[in-house]
Amino acid sequence: MLRHFKAWNIILILIFAVFFFALVYPILFIFKASFVNPETGAFSLKSYATFFHYPFYMRCLRNSLFVSTLSTFFALAIGIPFAFFLSRYHVPGKNLIKTLGTLPLILPTFIGAEAWLILLGRNGVFAKLLQPLGVEIPSIYGWKGIVLVFTLQFFPFVFLMVSSAINAIDRSLEEAATNLGSGRLRVFFTVTLPVITPAILSGALVVFYLCIENFGVPVLIGEDFRVLSVQAYNEFISEMGGNPSMAGALSMILLAITLALTVFQKFWIERKSYAMTSLNPIEVKRLRPMPTFLIWLFCAGIVFIALFPFAVVMVSSITKTQGPVMYFGQFSLDNFIRAFTIAPRPIFNSFFLATTATLIGILFGILVSYLLVRRRGAVSYLLDILVMLPLAVAGTVQGIALAATYNKGFIVLTGTWMILVLAYFIRKAPYSIKTTASLLQQIDTSIEEASINLGVPPVKSFLKVIIPIMLPGILAGAIIMWVTTLAELSSTIVLYYGPWATMTVEVFQRIGSGDFGPASAYATILILSVLIPLFILNRVSGKDLASSL
């Protein structure tokens, strides 16, 4: 008993060490750096003074808040009716629409940005078609493009959260309101809407967070429209050798925003939401043909517009290209041949890094969830918070912190593949911990005790009984972790070094240099590597993508 106890204590200490090493210490490190004058090395508030003094920096902050607010608004405007229509009314092809409607969540945002550049960019398809006719197409660059891509990629979060809230409402709730004398509209505004409001707010916060944290979309499509995450990256990478103090200050400001959002979400909205178990879900209504068609048109149309860009990228990858000029209609496999023969390394890198990080993440997730669920002690609360901390740190900030910290000194990791694995696994660990912990919670302690009682020692009991029961869930979590890691750009772009460029970096750089063909080839490989495992997961376990997120 005592020995067993000690083993878990050592594991607990190791877990804390990993979090400290990979997350807390690097953030403290750039926190300190942001208060140091890079020339003299003395304490200084210069970076913060610069930030608040120069309109340029304040504009970055304003821009970030502006696009995030606007995108959140549009995501709500699309997501709420989308959820409402699909859960309450009969819509043809409902299941397909639902499944496709969640896909944008998992598809890399910067590929969405690339597609819109291909379509509406300066050398884009529409520009070429319409310019000869003298028609000016509206510019995709700047905030308009950013908001467009954010809205289309993030509205599914609102959709998922709101529809699960709607589906949790028991039929009797609305019937009670009707029975007490409320008309249909009154029921909606006095009962239904208040009950789903926490879910709406929750969805809004998540979308806002994803927007403000995002790096790939504003950097590709924003041009002169600078946002915080992009400017932090620029300060850090700058050809002048970079300004760690200024990059640190920008990171801290971004971190303050994301942390505040996370804390707000955790302590306010989670307390506000209502626990309901719906015994009798509300009946799905069948409307007359015309309204049904309009609802269908709205839902299917949104899904089409959200996914069309990815189809464009896939078509572009097999289209003959020369720099930014694409010859649509003329097919060629050149882009793929080049990707596989001349520069196959990024493909290998992406798979290798994502797989390694996922394997470590699974192990880590199991250990942490076991400690969280089964061995609650004095430090569990601290572990609870620590475990979810990576979710509150923007990828760019995490990348800058890690790169700055392990650049020199005792441990030098910057420029190695290990730092990428470290960044990935700590960043995605919360997903794997969340899925395994909730699975573990569902398994009664007595199952484990039954095995011990039958003569199998505790650790072996865990391996023989608990792990097999959790296996399907662990696998689903691992697939999600793997595909999201593959698509990671914001920390990779800061941390990668020469030979360790990944497919995401390759796509990013090729778009920057106007090589849309090769960019599309890598992007297509990414899209397929994300979709195929999800498809298999869906087939094998019958599990919805939504349930694993």
């Binding site: 008993m1 007595s446 039954a450 095995s451 009682n453 039958l454 003569g455 199998v456 097999p468």
Partner: protein
């Protein structure tokens, strides 16, 4: 195997879940830990199983002190309240689990499982997965899994609480039958006094971690030692009576209640009052007496509930409390309504003097 507990105390923070419990459970006994929820019965069982380490005291299996033997080496078979069947294994593999852990040869596993499956009547369900079974079948699998390893001691934690009322009765008879057949020492936890009486050789009543009384079902029912035991096992009327006299030769206490003389058999009372426990069915309803006879009292009926084979009256008792009186085989015309006066006789030789 004989189980001996000496001064077992288990604390959770400041709560003493089990408080200085000493018990001896004889070889082959069906021994029940009975008490309300939170009384420490499950904690005590889990301490015996090895899932908790006692803070004080000693647990012996036979002659051997097993305090420091880990749970997986205690050779007990446990049936959990929710059965704890392994959801990823078939019925056969669930039952085989403990045998495989003991590296029993494959052929022996097959024959032992065949035998136990027959004895718990699960033939033909070997390949089912637990979630394809009914509650009663799951219960049998859990029992078979615990028994097939031939444990020294069988531990059961409220095994019937998830079954419906009818099944509960038939399962408890079956558990009792199998236990007798195997002669295995069994420690059984329940909060249901009827169930405890039906299956047990001996019962320990627990309250707030402490032992209230240990005895056979009849001992506890007819001779409860204290108020808790009297009220928890069946229902009971507790009366506090003033002592007037004591007749040593006849072991007769003369007491007084509401101006009436009440005679009770018992040992010499220590104080000026005695507390007695009287079962509702011991009180006899009588006609209005001519003159003041001993032990005959009257009271207003507060409620009268007709239950078919009996009528249960709640009557204003001699000391402001409500007395419960049960009349078996009632007469259709003779049932009294609320507010009517009911005359009754307290039996002289049955009330049990208890500690207050």
């Amino acid at each position: 195997m004989r189980v001996q507990l000496t001064g077992i105390t288990k604390r959770f923070g400041r709560l003493r879940a089990v408080d200085d419990v000493s018990l001896t459970i004889e070889e082959g006994d069906f021994f029940t830990l009975l008490g309300p929820s939170g009384c420490g019965k499950t904690t005590l069982l889990r301490t015996i199983a090895g899932f908790y380490t006692p803070d004080e005291g000693e647990i012996r299996f036979g002659e051997r002190v097993i305090n420091h033997i880990p749970a997986h080496r205690r050779e007990t078979g446990m049936v959990f309240q929710n059965y704890a069947l392994f959801p990823h294994l078939s019925v056969f593999d669930n039952i085989a689990y403990g045998l495989r852990a003991r590296k029993v040869a494959r052929r022996e596993i097959a024959s032992r499982i065949g035998e136990i499956i027959r004895s718990v009547q699960l033939e033909g369900l070997e390949d089912r997965s637990p979630n394809q079974l009914s509650g009663g079948q799951q219960q049998r699998v859990a029992l078979a899994r615990a028994l097939v390893i031939c444990p020294q001691i069988l531990l059961m934690d409220e095994p019937l609480s998830n079954l419906d009322a009818k099944l509960r009765v038939s399962m408890r008879e079956e558990i009792r039958r199998i236990q007798k057949e195997l002669g295995i020492t069994t420690i059984y936890v329940t909060h249901d006094q009827e169930e405890a009486m039906a299956v047990s050789d001996r019962i320990a009543i627990l309250n707030r971690g402490r032992l209230e009384q240990v005895g056979t079902p009849t001992e506890i029912y007819f001779r409860p030692e204290n108020r808790f035991a009297a009220e928890f096992m069946g229902s009971s009327n507790i009366l506090e009576l003033d002592v007037l006299d004591y007749d040593e030769g006849a072991s007769r206490i003369t007491t007084e209640a509401a101006g009436q003389t009440v005679l009770i058999r018992g040992d010499k009372p220590l104080g000026k009052m005695v507390t007695v426990s009287i079962r509702p069915e011991w009180i006899r309803v009588v006609g209005k007496p001519q003159s003041g006879k001993t032990n005959i009292l009257s009271g207003k009926v507060v409620s009268s509930t007709f239950l078919g084979s009996m009528v249960r009256y709640r009557v204003c008792g001699p000391q402001e409390q409500t007395l419960v009186i049960e009349v078996h085989d009632p007469d259709e015309k003779g049932i009294l309504g609320n507010g009517e006066i009911l005359w009754y006789q307290l039996p002289a030789d049955r009330p049990v003097v208890i500690q207050g």
